[in-house]
């Protein structure tokens, strides 16, 4: 019993939340950038002149990872692991911080992959009509909205949790 309560103490819960935010969003971004990258390679094989445009499209799904990292950092700062003295947290407080990490973790994961696919699809536009880059970028960028919304939700939760 003793070890269970020590395992689920506030700090550990908050750490898990931070880890989840970074992990989920990061994995999503990695997959997304990978998907877009494969498609970019295909386009580049036939048309090496399109490196710039394809790189731009490939980079789009990378933002989720950054958002995840931001939330992770914020949580770590709040519990004092980074830049301060560690704060004693109750289990409930820790749980709250963990929940705050969930939106960006989950949405970052799914939106990263979804954005990667949208980017890869838009590589097809770049392959055929490079002049339509602006429009092509809009589609994957729309997916970004939801990652930003999740980031906002996570941030608001983080802001609201009083320690």
């Amino acid at each position: 019993m003793e070890w269970i309560t020590s395992l689920f103490n506030g700090t550990n819960m908050a750490l898990a939340g931070a880890a989840f935010a970074v992990f989920g969003a990061g994995t999503g971004s990695a997959k997304g950038v990978g998907i877009a990258g494969e498609a970019a390679a295909g386009v580049l094989t036939e048309d090496p002149g399109k490196f710039g445009q394809t790189l731009l499209l490939q980079a789009l799904p990378g933002t989720q990872g950054i958002y995840g990292l931001i939330i992770g950092f914020l949580i770590l700062i709040k519990i004092g692991i980074v830049g301060g003295t560690p704060v004693e947290l109750t289990t409930i407080q820790g749980l709250s911080l963990m929940v705050a990490g969930l939106p960006i973790g989950v949405v970052g994961f799914t939106s990263g992959i979804a954005q990667g696919r949208a980017s890869a699809a838009c590589m097809g536009i770049i392959a055929k009509r490079p002049e339509e880059l602006g429009k092509a970028m809009m589609y994957p960028a729309m997916v970004e909205t939801y990652a930003v919304l999740a980031l906002l939700a996570s941030f608001l939760m983080w802001l609201g949790i009083a320690i």
């Binding site: 494969e38 498609a39 295909g42 386009v43 036939e46 097809g124």
Partner: protein
Amino acid sequence: MRNLAKNIIKDTDYLYASARIKALEKNLLTRERMERMCEARTMEDTFKVLTECGWPEIPSASMADVEQILAQRRSETFAMLRSLAPDQRIPAVFLMKYDYHNLKTLLKSEATGEKPDALLIDAGRVPLRQLMAMLRENSFSDMPAAMAAVVSEGRDLLSRTRDPQLLDFSLDRAMYAEMLDTAEAFGSGFLTGYIRLMIDGVNLRSAVRLRRMGKGSEILRFALVPGGNVSIMSLMHDISPDLIESVFASSSLSAAAGAGAAVLRGEGTLAIMDLACDDALIRYLKRAKYVAFGAETLIGYLAAQESELTAVRIIIAGRLAGLPSEMIIERLRDAYV
């Protein structure tokens, strides 16, 4: 379980291939480019449209040279698709045509004693040399199973009946059956649908042409290919224009069936029906263009390449024959891009 898992196609396996194909699609002949080829003032201008699309220079305006370039394009396309496709069954479906063609040629040349070399196409799954050796030594174990099953049967059929048409019927049926099996095992609904539509087209054209040749309905049993969207049972009657129209009414071949019925009524030409069949196939394939990545892109591209080769042959042969451009354009198939 493992087998099942293997059959699930992940479209992300096709990211690289699809993107590369999309980049290549840019070089396919559009309808507008084809018409420019027809209307070009000189043969050089016609060829220039091709070189703009990445074709090699055609050395002279003779059909032999053009055919050589066409064969080269074909083998290049297949070589690329074979290296690009995550699953070899996609190019295989399109290569079977050449395997069965070679098989037919070799079996017929066995019977007539004619030298087949000039008629063979070394493009199939089984390299030509191997295929010839297999037939010589009667060992079909290295052949694709479906082909091996039909070789001795075909040989018997030919020596018994001396009817090359029956041999062709039997090999064509085997070919479409193998295509369909391969597509189904591959698990792409798009590919299966394409082959089913192709079978429907073959059945429609066979029914109309056999009727026009004055054959009875009993031959339909050999000539029709099972596996299409339209059941062949519904066609195994006395073929009449109305039957053709009603059987294909609800399929995407209804326009082609209308043209076929017109042929039987003595109003149209077979060329219009063939054209309508091919256009229906292209229309079906065009769906692949809306798929960002996946097997569909590859399938669509392969089919588009084949129809492009035909289009180029029609244009250049027509121009060499001195046909007016409107007449050539009339006969052109719809373009994929």
